[in-house]
């Protein structure tokens, strides 16, 4: 590796301290992780203490992320550094933006954990180590364009997740969930790595931009088409597993149902959105690697592939959610559906030189930000119901409006927002995706739009089932007792969802700021040509 770095004098003339600063949020997370490791030895393993440390770490990292964001948006390190062997990591607006969202969400989850299990939990340090570990993995996922780093980051994010799902050692379901998640994850990781190996072999480089170049060449000329595409598909499979896109979604409901609510919350948003951003970045590199905007059509099969995958995913997720009786599992399926919606935004293939090149990615970012609040709120209510009644069955939500109005009302808001109904933020999220698709103004775009709106209609029914149980029915269950902090959290989410709708404009502006000039397309073009020239087809090599 060092050699490779030396080769492309990536370090030459680069201020290392500045780079350390740019990566400081991730570093902060890692340090906190170490601190938590150290805590039991120094101050003891009481949940509260650990929690406090974790929260401090998160806050610190959050502040750093904001600082960095300020730098980057001034064009600190801008653009995907697409040099062939440009280091393994990169920082740009997108990655920072995602890190900010991630950290905020992490704070929410920690808070939820604090409310719920901080009293009963005796393995707090382990839990947080895993949490932070996966967080680091996700943060890395979005800040690289290097195949090796992608593989590492995904694994870093996955392995702790497996453990988190099965965290409660006495829980049979948790163990089963963990097992399934693990096996599924391990296999798809292996598939992805195999794909990476093929891509590396074909393109002779680990840099995504070079790989993209090669793929396009292969597409255009038909050289090593099959093997390249197999490699590419395997890579996509690995990412699709994290996104839990059809047909790699099977782990999702089981794992989510088996895991603790906090964990479910965490996975439902963080891991998926990280993978989505990663995928979006790959797509952008592919688009950027095409010299002429007109030639974007050559990637349309890829776009269609992702698009169809998206439609399948959200349709299946919505339909599968119909009959569920466990709200947790229902929301798991709903998260699959939403992954589908977000995939639609990824399916927007636009050449960076053409107008509205950032619509798709900014829509995705906006959606993730909103989705975070929606799911935090919904799962927050679910967890509070679970804590009190010990069951996440639909029946335990019956008459919630009477039993706990302060939970029922924000739940309704979150669910309606998940449906995508004005005047809630969920609609705005969907809206920007629709706009991005409309900008395409091609068959794929309209096809996806129609699919999206009809899925909205389909999804209404099962969200409504919860609402009906909460508001229209009442079987006289006793009133709910819940921590006030938790109520504050979910109501905050509800209010934020309402406000975000009104503040659609600033949100859009911000997300566009964060997705501006993440390409350095000129370098792409230049280097791409070079690579294309140097690559030899296999046949010519082997004698």
């Amino acid at each position: 590796m060092t050699m490779c770095l030396a080769q492309s004098n990536a370090w030459a003339g680069i201020d290392v301290t500045r780079h350390l600063f740019l990566f400081s949020p991730i570093l902060a997370l890692i340090l906190t992780m170490l601190a938590i490791v150290a805590c039991p030895i120094i101050v003891g393993r009481s949940a509260k203490t650990i929690g406090a440390v974790a929260v401090m770490g998160i806050i610190a990292s959050f502040i750093l992320a904001l600082r960095v964001a300020g730098e980057v948006s001034e064009g600190g390190v801008s653009g995907l550094s697409t040099l062939p062997a440009a280091g393994l990591l990169l920082v740009d607006n997108l990655s920072i933006a995602f890190q900010i969202i991630l950290l905020a969400f992490m704070g929410g989850v920690t808070y939820l954990w604090w409310m719920g299990s901080s009293d009963s939990e005796e393995n707090a340090p382990e839990f947080f180590i895993l949490l932070f570990g996966s967080a680091v993995g996700m943060a890395l996922m979005v800040s690289t364009s290097n195949l090796l780093m992608i593989a590492l980051a995904i694994e870093t994010a996955s392995l702790p997740s497996y453990a988190m799902v099965g965290f409660d050692k006495r829980d049979r379901r948790g163990a089963e969930a963990a097992l399934k998640y693990l096996i599924f994850g391990a296999i798809s990781a292996a598939i992805m790595l195999y794909g990476i190996s093929l891509l590396y072999g074909m393109s002779g480089s680990l840099s995504v931009s070079v790989v993209a170049k090669h793929c396009i060449e292969a597409l255009a000329t038909g050289h090593d088409l099959v093997i390249t595409m197999v490699g590419l598909m395997c890579l996509l499979a690995g990412i699709a597993f994290k996104v839990s896109a059809f047909p790699f979604h099977f782990w999702c409901p089981d794992a989510f149902e088996g895991a603790k609510v906090e964990v479910t919350t965490w996975l439902s948003v963080a891991s998926k959105s990280a993978a989505l951003i990663l995928l979006a970045r790959l797509v952008m590199v592919f688009c950027a690697s095409i010299s002429a905007p007109e030639a974007i059509g050559i990637l349309s099969p890829l776009a269609w592939g992702i698009g169809i995958m998206a439609v399948m995913t959200c349709t299946l997720g919505n339909f599968a959610a119909y009959k569920q009786t466990s709200v947790k599992r229902l929301l798991a399926y709903s998260s699959i559906a939403h992954a589908g919606y977000m995939l639609m935004a990824v399916a927007v293939f636009v050449h960076p030189n053409s107008e509205h090149s950032q619509d798709g990615i900014s829509a995705l970012l906006t959606y993730i930000a909103i989705y975070m609040f929606m799911n935090l709120g919904a799962f927050g209510v679910v967890s509070m119901v679970v804590w009190d009644t010990g069951s996440d069955k639909l029946s335990s939500f019956t008459g919630l409006l009477r039993r706990a109005p302060l939970l029922a009302i924000p739940m309704v808001v979150c669910l309606m927002s998940l449906v995508g109904l004005p005047p809630f933020a969920g609609f705005i999220g969907k809206w920007w995706i629709l706009v991005a698709l409309g900008q395409l103004n091609n068959t794929l775009g309209w096809f996806l739009i129609i699919a999206a709106v009809f899925n909205t209609l389909i999804s209404l029914y099962y969200y409504m089932r919860i609402v009906v149980h909460m508001t229209l029915r009442d079987d006289g269950q006793p009133a709910l007792s819940f921590p006030l902090g938790g109520v504050a959290l979910v109501n905050l989410c509800a209010i934020v969802l309402l406000a975000m709708f009104g503040l659609a404009q600033p949100m859009k502006t911000t997300s566009e700021q964060f997705t501006r000039n993440i390409f350095d397309t000129t370098t792409v073009a230049k280097t791409a040509v070079v690579d294309a020239a140097t690559i030899q087809p296999i046949e010519s090599v082997q004698r």
Binding site: F184, M229, P247, I290
Partner: protein, 802 residues
């Protein structure tokens, strides 16, 4: 007086019943009995009557023909609304017909109100001790308002609006005793049957609006005439239905409305049932005024009628007058008997209009209004006196107990039977009006060809030819009293037809505010000359039926009177109870006088004055006495005597049969052959049963089918759709996700490793199936992509190489 004075007075006359309506609605209960009644009488009808009398005098004696026509032209119009682009002008149709009708309505109504004050005090308290006395007068006032409005309307749309309002009042009043079952159904029947008529009316309205582009009566007529002359517009269309041209359909459609209100043959069923209402209501609405509205409508739209349409009108009228008269022969309920006679008489009027006897028909309308109202009140008096007994078989010999009623009733009977001395002009209403209708019908039937040829020759200036005819009439026979009357009658016509040209010019000169071109007589005359050539003579059966009925009418009327008043009392209890009271028979006397008065003087002249302006159309037959003159000139004596003497025959037969109680009658009834006929007549030809079966049952049946369809098909479809979605969801969620996966991939595994143990436990949630499915899915995706992918197009390659 200028026209506005008249209009304001007439309008006031319309408004005051409206005021009294709201007054009675709100403070009625407090006024109580009989004060509420008196409010109704004074405010509801007294004021209008005063206005009417004043206007009548001023109009008839204060103005000459020309200025009357001028006033009519200048009548005020109010811009009510725009129908699309067509402005709808509301106003008062100011001509002699309006004023005659207006006066007739107010006069009769006033006395009926008066009668009701006494009558209703005994008939309004049945319902749970809650008095509906004030409600009755409120309804009557509302009716007065609508009826007068109808008479005044100058616009078809408004005519229709008031038309519906009188329908509403009739609905409310028929159902006045709505706590009983019969009135409930009777009122529904009345309203819905009328609605059926209105359905046709609306179609007529559509055609008028669409083809003539206006709903104002005069404009419509003018445009119609112009279009006829030019062969444009409605006459240009080649559309036909049952061999009718569009213009004919328009006429027939409008006439359908009249069929509903005036209860003509297919839609007559409601009127007899309407007798379930209080007797004054029967007298006012279902004998004198509202049912006559149909005739009035036909008279008003007469100018929009083509010969074919008029032929249809005549046919309907003819059928009605015959069938109903036959039914009337066997009725035993006194009010039903009167009701059927009303139907028959209405048939006469419609028939008259149909064969072009415009004046005669309207004249008959007015005379009939008087005597029929009187007879109904008489019957009310009888019923009241006889303790709510309506069956004539239980009456008899009442003349001793209630002489005034009997006498006045007899006057009515004579009037309706056309009592008079042939050859003189001594007689009662029917004697003139009915006979005149028959005379015109006769001409239309037998002398038509000569007449129309003669018309065609003297196209324009038939006025000039009139004296000639007169003279040779004088020469031919001056014994003919009827003929002299006709001459008298036709005098104003001569005046008109001479005056007409000037007044036409006068108006072409003067700019009318609405820019309506006043109808000049020239083109109409020309149109008329043209049209006579294709106006066919009437089929003979119509005339013969009408004539035949002229003999039946006196029979059943005399039968009715005799059974009621003469002979021996058949029910002692009833007879003992019988009495009459001043409050009630005073109006009878008035109306009896009115009957004699209305027989010849004034009204016919008024109408014939109206006729000149009112009937300018392709079909101007009876507009001028000229035709009557010709009719009489050509008429054979047997017609005069035959029609004139018909009542004698009828009376004689009636007295012969019923002179000695019901014995003979029942004997005849039971003779074979007659019996069956009697049964048929007694069941009114089973038309009610038929309608109930076809329309009521049929409609409800369809309705229930529709409901069934809605619940079990339309709704079910959606529910099934929902179910399907759920099933699909279950499928995707459970089957594909788990079972399906198992199914498919266990199969693959089996074939792969040849061991079927995977199939043995088709459990769900098995990780291996997940893996297989994922892998399989990935493979499928890859393969598909590769198949789809292929090599990029050359130009794309070109773009890629910098």
């Amino acid at each position: 007086m200028n026209s506005h004075t008249y209009e304001i007075l007439l309008a006031l006359g319309v408004l005051s019943p409206f005021i009294s309506f709201w007054l009675l609605v709100f403070v009625g209960p407090k006024l109580g009995k009989p004060l509420a009644g008196w409010v109704g009488v004074i405010l509801g009808m007294g004021v209008p009557l005063a206005m009417a009398s004043y206007v009548l005098l001023g109009w008839w004696f204060g103005e000459d023909a020309a200025s009357r026509a001028m006033l009519g032209e200048q009548a005020f119009r109010y811009h009510w609304a725009n129908l699309g682009t067509v402005p709808i002008l509301v106003g008062i149709k100011l001509d002699s017909l309006t004023i005659a009708m207006y006066f007739m309505v107010t006069f009769i109504a006033f006395w009926i109100f008066f009668f009701s004050v006494g009558y209703m005090s005994g008939h309004s308290d049945e319902v749970d001790g809650k008095s509906k006395y004030h409600r009755f007068f409120a309804y009557l006032s509302l009716f007065a308002f609508s009826m007068l409005g109808l008479v005044l309307s100058s616009n078809l749309l408004f005519l229709f609006i008031f038309w519906e309002l009188v329908g509403l009042c009739s609905y409310l009043l028929i159902g006045f005793y709505f706590h009983e079952r019969v009135p409930q159904y009777a009122q529904m029947k009345a309203f819905i049957t009328n609605r059926v008529g209105d359905f046709g009316f609306i179609i007529g309205l559509m055609l008028v609006y669409f083809q003539l582009g206006t709903l104002d009566l005069d404009d419509a007529a003018r445009i119609f005439a112009e279009q006829y002359a030019a062969g444009t517009g409605i006459f240009a269309s080649t559309f036909t239905m049952f061999g009718w041209s569009l213009a004919t359909i328009m006429g027939v459609g409008l006439f359908c409305g009249a069929m509903g209100k005036s209860a003509q043959f297919p839609l007559h069923v409601w009127l007899p049932d309407a007798m379930a209402g209080p007797t004054p209501v029967s007298a006012l609405i279902h004998a004198a005024t509202m049912v006559a509205a149909g005739v009035y409508l036909v008279a008003r739209v007469f100018r929009l009628m083509t010969p074919e349409a008029l032929m249809f009108v005549a046919a309907i009228g003819c059928i009605t007058l015959t069938l109903m008269a036959l039914i009337a022969m066997v009725q035993t309920d006194i009010k039903k008997c009167l009701a059927y006679s009303t139907l028959s008489q209405l048939g006469y009027m419609i028939f008259g209009l149909g064969c072009g006897a415009w004046i005669a028909a309207l004249f008959h309308l007015i005379t009939h209004a008087f005597f029929k109202a009187m007879m109904f009140l008489g019957s009310g008096q009888v019923i009241e006196g006889c303790h709510h007994e309506q069956d004539m078989r239980k009456m008899g010999g009442l003349i001793k107990k209630m002489p005034v009623t009997a006498i006045t009733f007899l006057v009515g009977v004579l009037a309706i039977s056309g009592f008079g001395i042939p050859g003189t002009n001594i007689g009662l209403g029917g004697f003139f009006s009915k006979d005149e209708i028959l005379a015109v019908a006769w001409v239309r039937t037998f002398d038509w060809n000569d007449y129309s040829r003669h018309e065609a020759e003297h196209g324009e200036h038939h006025a000039a030819s009139v004296p000639a005819i007169d003279s040779d009439d004088d020469a031919s026979d001056n014994l003919n009293g009827n003929h002299k009357q006709m001459l008298l009658a036709s005098d104003p016509q001569h005046g008109d037809s001479h005056a007409a040209p000037q007044h036409g010019e006068a108006h072409t000169a003067s700019e009318s505010p609405r820019g309506l071109k006043p109808s000049a007589h020239g083109d109409n005359a020309h149109g008329r000359a043209g049209i006579f050539s294709h106006v066919p003579p009437m089929p003979k059966w119509m005339f013969y039926l009408a004539l035949f009925t002229a003999y039946i009418t006196p029979f059943y009327m005399m039968r009715c009177w005799w059974m009621t008043f003469m002979g021996k009392p058949r029910d002692q209890h009833v007879h003992d109870h019988a009495h009459e009271s001043f409050m009630m028979y005073f109006p009878l006397i008035i109306l009896a006088v009115g009957t004699c008065f209305a027989s010849y003087f004034l009204f016919r002249d008024l109408i014939s004055d109206a006729s000149t302006a009112a009937t300018i159309a392709p079909m101007v037959l009876a507009t001028d006495g000229h035709l009557h003159t010709a009719a009489i000139a050509a008429a054979h004596h047997w017609l005069i005597t035959g029609v004139g003497g018909s009542f004698v025959v009828g009376f004689v037969i009636a007295i012969l049969i019923y002179g000695r109680g019901l014995g003979i009658a029942s004997a005849i009834k039971n003779t074979v052959g007659i019996q069956q006929i009697h049964t048929i007549l007694d069941h009114k030809y089973y038309i009610d049963e038929l309608y109930h079966l076809v329309w009521v049952k049929g409609c409800l049946c369809i309705a229930h089918i529709a409901r069934f369809f809605d619940t079990w098909v339309v709704d079910m479809t959606y529910n099934t759709l929902a179910k399907l979605t759920e099933r699909l969801a279950a499928f995707m969620g459970l089957i594909i996700d788990t079972h399906g996966v198992d199914g498919i991939y266990n199969g693959i595994a089996e074939t792969a490793i040849g061991m079927g143990e995977a199939v043995r436990r088709p459990q769900t949630g098995r990780i291996r199936n997940y893996v297989l499915f994922a892998a399989g899915g990935a493979t499928v995706v890859i393969v598909l992509m590769l198949l789809y992918w292929g090599v990029g197009s050359p130009e794309q390659v070109a773009m890629l190489t910098p």
